[in-house]
């Protein structure tokens, strides 16, 4: 084959590879999904959060009083979170996890894991 033909051939293969496998030209690795719950005015928002298993859920306390995030079945339990402190939990098993603030037990929330 002529040299110019080889070059064209290789370029075509590369182009084909790029089209067939678009991820090859990217350096980014997949990040886990995340979800947020905010705590303010003695309330968890959203009151019910639905996520897929493996999602990292982060609670952030914006209230001027400390709160905890305590699941009723002991699956997860934060320390007392002062203003602006966070707690993260990544559920692996599907299910419905009801939780509450152990300091102010009238504050309740639900995490639904699919």
């Amino acid at each position: 084959m002529k040299r110019s033909n080889w070059i064209l051939c290789i370029a075509a293969v590369m182009l084909l590879a790029l089209v067939a496998f678009p991820a090859l030209d990217r350096k980014v690795a997949a990040t886990p999904p995340t979800a947020e719950v905010t705590i303010d005015n003695f309330t968890f928002s959203p009151a019910t959060l639905t996520v897929k298993a493996g999602t990292q859920v982060t609670w952030t306390n914006h209230d001027d009083m400390p709160h905890t995030v305590t699941s009723e079945d002991q699956t997860f339990k934060s320390k007392a979170l002062d203003t602006d402190e966070k707690f993260s939990f990544t559920p692996s098993k599907p299910g419905t996890y009801t939780y509450y603030c152990s300091i102010h037990p009238k504050m309740t929330g639900k995490l639904v894991v699919e």
Binding site: N41, D64, P66, T70, K79, I103, H104, P105, K106, T108
Partner: protein, 320 residues
């Protein structure tokens, strides 16, 4: 009907206490007066009246309740809770009839940190009454099931920190209702503590004046905000036979009163920050007020028992 409106008019329970008179006494209390039942007649003395100090006879008992010092809290509702606790101590030290001891009804600290407890202890060292009896608030038992609280303040207490003691014929009972709180629930005393309470009081004569102190109110102030105790009815049932029961609580950061039969319920103001009236705000959290108004919403409670009388006189005074 007697013309003198300070006399007992209706002694329904045959115990020398007239409900209407007692409530009138509470109204006087707002003017800083000490209201005493003597020989069936309500008399008032100004707290600053020096002659009252002489009238206080041996056998009379005077103590103060403070509550919710939340040492460590530093948000806009009160950036300096140490200063307001100090002001409360000064108020106590200025009382004409020196109190014999202090009851602290909990939330001593804000985040159960050792430094916070240390600060409160340091400030209370300048109080004239050096005997202080505590019960924990929910802010005092974070992380460690209350171990640190009991190490510091739990000498001579049982279980999670309940205890009783006697002073001049009055029986004091400190209860703990902030442990093992259930989701969606209220304060809780628990079976072990209730059994202890029954045992502790069963041999007392029904004329023994009883004072119960606990952090969360033992009556249903506002369940929506958790202002109540799930199993307090059982506790009160054990105390039903006594002629005079005074229940002193904190937790709600405002003064409130209720009389039910022989039981007078009273909540104290905080020395740190006020909270809204039930339902008056979206949540129970710290209530911000203009700085010049803050101290008028904080306070101490002075309690006096005249030997032989049934009712204890409970007087709230604000820091300013």
């Amino acid at each position: 009907m007697q013309k003198n409106s300070d006399s007992i008019l209706f002694d329904h329970n045959h115990d020398g206490i007239d409900r209407r008179g007692f409530l009138k006494c509470m109204a006087w209390a707002g003017t800083g007066a000490l209201c005493v039942l003597q020989g069936g007649v309500l008399k008032s003395y100004s707290l600053s009246d020096p002659s009252h100090a002489k009238k206080a006879a041996a056998g009379d008992l005077s103590f103060v309740q403070i509550s919710d010092s939340h040492m460590g809290f530093n948000k806009p509702a009160n950036p300096d809770v140490a200063a307001t606790l100090q002001a409360a101590v000064q108020k106590i030290n200025a009382l004409t009839v020196p109190p014999e001891f202090i009851l602290h009804t909990g939330d001593i600290s804000h985040l159960s940190k050792p430094g916070e407890f240390d600060n409160v202890d340091q400030i209370l060292k300048s109080a004239r009454p050096q005997d202080v009896f505590f019960v924990p608030g929910e802010h005092d038992v974070l992380e460690d099931d209350g171990n640190q609280y009991r190490e510091r303040y739990g000498k001579n207490t049982r279980g999670s920190g309940w205890h009783s003691f006697d002073k001049k014929g009055v029986h004091f009972i400190g209860l703990v209702n902030v442990m093992n709180l259930k989701a969606g629930g209220l304060g809780s005393l628990g079976g072990e503590q209730l059994e202890w309470l029954e045992d502790d009081t069963k041999h007392l004569s029904k004329s023994t004046p009883i004072v119960v102190f606990a952090h969360i109110p033992l009556w249903s102030v506002y369940p929506e905000w958790g202002w109540g105790t799930e199993d307090s009815a059982q506790a009160l049932a054990y105390l039903k036979r006594f002629g005079s029961v005074t229940v002193l609580n904190g937790h709600i950061h405002q003064t409130m009163q209720k009389v039910e039969g022989n039981v007078t319920f009273h909540t104290a103001a905080s020395t740190a920050f006020p909270q809204p009236h039930p339902g008056a705000a979206p949540s129970a959290g710290p209530m911000k007020v203009p700085p010049e108004q803050l101290r008028s919403l904080l306070g101490v409670t002075d309690v006096n028992h005249v030997h032989g009388s049934h009712a204890l006189a409970v007087i709230d005074s604000t820091l300013e």
